[in-house]
Amino acid sequence: MASLGFKDVSKRFHDGTLALANVDLEVAHGEFMVLVGPSGCGKTTLLRSAAGLEEITSGEIRLGGRVVTDVDPSERDVAMVFQNYALYPHMTVRQNLAFGLEQRRLPGAEIAKRVAATAGTLGLERLLDRKPAALSGGQRQRVAMGRAIVREPACFLMDEPLSNLDANLRVQMRSELKLLNARLGVTTLYVTHDQVEAMTMGDRVAVLSPVSRPEDHNLQQCAPPAELYNSPANLFVAGFIGSPAMNFVRARIERGGNGPELLISGLPSPLRAGGRVAALKPRLERWLNRPVILGIRPEFFSLAAPGEGDLDVDVVMVEMTGADGYLHFELPIPPGPVETGLAEETVPHRHKQVTARVEPKLLPRAGTRAGLTIDLARAHFFDPDTGVAIR
């Protein structure tokens, strides 16, 4: 067991694609760190660099204090679980589990003992003499985990290990994996594109974004899940974490007759919320009369009678998931381009469609008019030029 550190890691592929730029990340001893981000954000490349399967262009990788940047994968003492499991198809489960131990020239008795113990932990005893082709998806996944565990490595590297499972099994394996990690306490770097997986499993979650220039940074924020959700560092993290995604609208705080007023672009009048805007004053002092981006999570809205909330909207569409009801309305987009620093796909419909979560029992019908109140104390404000959160 050991800590895993990336220092100023950059990686450019032979074809010129820049995958990683200036990644600084420290996975503490025994920590479960999740790398999450949209496709192309370099999360898998970073993981493979840790395994030694990808050479980095510059920077340093440390494992337990030892610099392993140029160390062959076979000598790094890490174990990796691949997305497609990569079980050796010509070997039985037993041979798959034993392979890594044989490479380390452990005595046969010790290998047998460890294989048996791991098989016991994962419930693989009865499958030991089967070949991977004769296993179900979930069983293969378990063997892949077993092959990592049996080695007792310094660090686990997992590349979307649950993405090939069906939804039910994925949820089940998610909790099993977390329990297992808690029990073994091995430093783990876990890649996923699924934010639910990231939020539920990680001690800390590192959000990565794609990079295009060498001076960019993949790492947007690395924090415990709650912090990531409650105080995203920038628009990218705010838009990526949370489902449905956070709504972003352009806004402006102006000094009105009765104190500061919040003007949401596309709405004819300021929000009827003078007092609550005033409460935000210390945070937004410097932003008076300047454009900001207001980030409102769907759950920051609550339903009110028309004319009694902060704003009245025309309900375009409603969705009912059972536990939650979602109400969609539209805000007209003001003329002129809006640079949010976000990829188009991470903020669907940019400023056009806004989603509010409401009590399903109170869900209004599409086509009606509804009043909404915004919990401004929890709302997020971002610098429209840099995308950085205003705190």
Binding site: S74, V78, A86, P89, H90, Q103, P132, R147, R151
Partner: protein
């Protein structure tokens, strides 16, 4: 009514298939029958269909005096040698072309393809001169070496497609598991491409076995292979058709047997992709 139509259709399909089959099997069958029919009926018109089969031609070609027996052994030596020499060279080449990015890798594959497409006859004289200069004319080694100019390009193409099918993650997993390159190849890659190696060797054997052009200029009386022996019967006073039939039939047998025995590897080789699951 519908049943009748169906019957007619099936009948037509079978008639078509039999016709196609005749085109392919006909000559082979004719040659095989040539070997066992009396020589005076060979070109008889109308063709003699019923005759008393006799092993006389096989008897004189392979037993007494058995001029072709020695050539059969020569063919086995040359084709066997070509097979043994083939994989140690074509597997590493195919592996490198499959796994590593290299300058001109694609061109190399095209060059191999070019070697395969060029008529071997075009190379006969240069090879003859080359082999004579280095003093190998008439040796088995000369034939085995020159056969590689056909078998290696073909084998590299075939082996590469098999290696391409082995997910690179398996090798990566083995490396992370602590295995170094030679061991990764020995324990992971080689076992997984074994069907491919068998199929490749099979084709290398058949290509070398059937090749008549190279032995024609590179062999001598002592090392001549079976195709050369068969051709020899055209030279003496008129063609001895029954002997030609016997020698040619014997020459056809080993490739046929190999394909029949190893058929399942060819099939497995073609469905190799299903391994990923």
């Amino acid at each position: 009514m519908r049943r009748k139509k169906l019957l007619l259709r099936t009948g037509l399909i079978y008639a078509g298939l039999i016709l196609v089959l005749l085109v392919f099997i006909g000559p082979i069958l004719w040659f095989a029958l040539l070997a066992i029919r009396p020589s005076e009926t060979v070109f008889a018109i109308p063709p003699v269909i019923f005759f008393t089969p006799s092993p006389a031609a096989f008897q004189s070609t392979f037993v007494d005096p058995g001029a072709n027996r020695h050539q059969l052994v020569n063919s086995l030596i040359v084709a066997g040698g070509a097979v043994l020499l083939n994989l140690p060279f074509s597997f590493p080449a195919a592996y490198a072309l499959s796994r590593f990015r290299m300058r001109g890798g694609k061109n190399m594959m095209l060059w191999y393809l070019g070697l395969l497409m060029a008529p071997p006859v075009a190379f006969l004289i240069p090879y003859f001169v080359l082999v004579s200069r280095i003093g190998l004319r008439g040796t088995y080694l000369a034939m085995i070496l020159i056969m590689q100019t056909i078998t290696i390009p073909f084998s590299v193409w075939l082996m590469k497609s098999f290696i391409d099918e082995v997910p690179v993650e398996l090798e990566e997993a083995a490396r992370v598991d602590g295995a170094k390159w030679p061991r990764v190849i020995a324990r992971i890659t080689l076992p997984l491409v074994r069907p491919g190696m068998i199929v490749t060797s099979m084709f290398a054997f058949v290509f070398s076995w059937n090749n008549a052009a190279f032995p024609l200029v590179l062999s001598n009386q002592r090392t001549a292979t079976l195709p050369i022996g068969t051709l020899g019967y055209f030279a003496t006073a008129g063609a001895t058709w029954t002997f030609i039939g016997a020698a040619a039939t014997a020459a056809m047998l080993p490739p046929m047997i190999i394909f029949l025995v190893l058929d399942r590897y060819v099939a497995r080789g073609l469905t190799f992709g299903s391994l990923k699951g």
